[in-house]
């Protein structure tokens, strides 16, 4: 009887340990509130730089290897993306974002969210809701956007 009780106790403890390790694995990628604020501040700087066509700030906030995929599925590199902003082909008329999730992997932060921002692209205004993923990496103390992709949310108009 004692043996069965000990075996049951051992099984419960082992299960608890596995759950605890699993929870730690998940928790290790959660961004702290401070880091979330830091990333949001950098992203706001990006929006401000786009609105003001501040190309020096745009250059500083985007990695040289940037890959930017817009809602039309077009892939732009850093030079192409900055040129769209500089030329006025891409304009942010309003910024409206929410439903953020942040995950940390070493020096990289993956940010996912939802946007309702009004964007004018080559003369066409897009206000449709979209889901985006942005990846930031810290280079010598400066967070830079290395990848961004946006997809229209099909079931919302």
């Amino acid at each position: 009887m004692t043996t069965i009780r000990n075996a049951a106790l051992f099984a419960i403890m082992a299960f608890g340990l596995i759950c605890s390790v699993r929870a730690q694995d998940t928790a290790k990628h959660e961004a702290s509130p401070e880091l979330q604020k830091e990333i949001l501040a950098v992203d706001n700087e990006r929006y401000e730089a786009m609105k003001n066509r501040d190309m020096a700030a745009m250059d500083r906030l985007h990695a040289d290897g940037l890959v930017f995929i817009n809602t039309k599925g077009r892939l732009l590199n850093k030079a192409e993306y900055l040129e769209e902003v500089r030329s006025g082909n891409l304009k942010f008329l309003s910024v409206d974002t929410d439903e953020y999730h942040f995950y940390v992997y070493g020096d990289a932060v993956i940010m996912n969210g939802r946007a309702n921002s009004a964007v004018e692209y080559h003369g066409v205004v897009n206000k449709k809701p979209r889901r985006f993923t942005s990846v930031f990496i810290k280079f010598q103390g400066q967070w830079k956007l290395v990848a961004h992709q946006a997809t229209l949310i099909a079931d919302e108009k």
Binding site: T26, V67, G73, G106, I110, R131, T133, V146, T151, D155
Partner: protein, 159 residues
């Protein structure tokens, strides 16, 4: 004698300069070699993922997907790892054909940004999708293994 000393010094300086150049080139080659190796490793995992998706092999996908996977499909729907694996396991996602390529990679240490295009025919939630789409995969190295941490796909609009 002083002439000989000058010559010896010049030869030594030349040798030192050559040594620095060789070391520098070797370092560059090693960097390039490390990047090439990383790309090969990520491509291998991506190919494993392709096979697992077609066979609906959720055990392989469970190993490849990071626990905090962010998965955004072409309809802008966000899924967690558990949701994605359940949908595949239950047959809610079904691939009729699989074509993807045009890969490109940006290597940042333990993070790789991989982009590509796909025109695979896939059925999900009763809809068959065969529109060409552009995708980004974010691979991260954890404990020596490459895991897919994020995936997003966007339909390519006609020009």
């Amino acid at each position: 004698m002083p002439n000989n000393l000058g010559l010896v010094c010049r030869v030594l300086l030349l040798c030192a300069a050559n040594l620095v150049t060789v070391c520098s080139l070797t370092g560059q080659e090693q960097d390039d070699e490390a990047v090439r190796r990383t790309k090969d490793e990520v491509l291998k995992v991506e190919q494993e993922r392709d096979q697992a998706l077609q066979k609906r092999d959720v055990a392989v996908l469970d190993r490849i997907y990071s626990d905090q996977l962010v998965f955004v499909n072409t309809r802008g729907q966000l899924f967690t790892k558990a949701q994605r694996i359940a949908d595949l396991g239950e047959g809610k996602v079904e691939y009729f054909s699989y074509h993807q390529g045009d890969y490109d990679y940006r290597v940042y240490g333990d993070t790789v940004v991989m982009t590509g295009q796909t025109s695979s025919v896939v059925k999900f939630q009763g809809r068959v999708n065969k529109i060409p789409r552009q995708f980004t995969n974010i691979y991260v190295r954890e404990g020596g293994q490459w895991h897919l941490a994020a995936h997003q796909a966007t339909p390519i609009a006609e020009k």
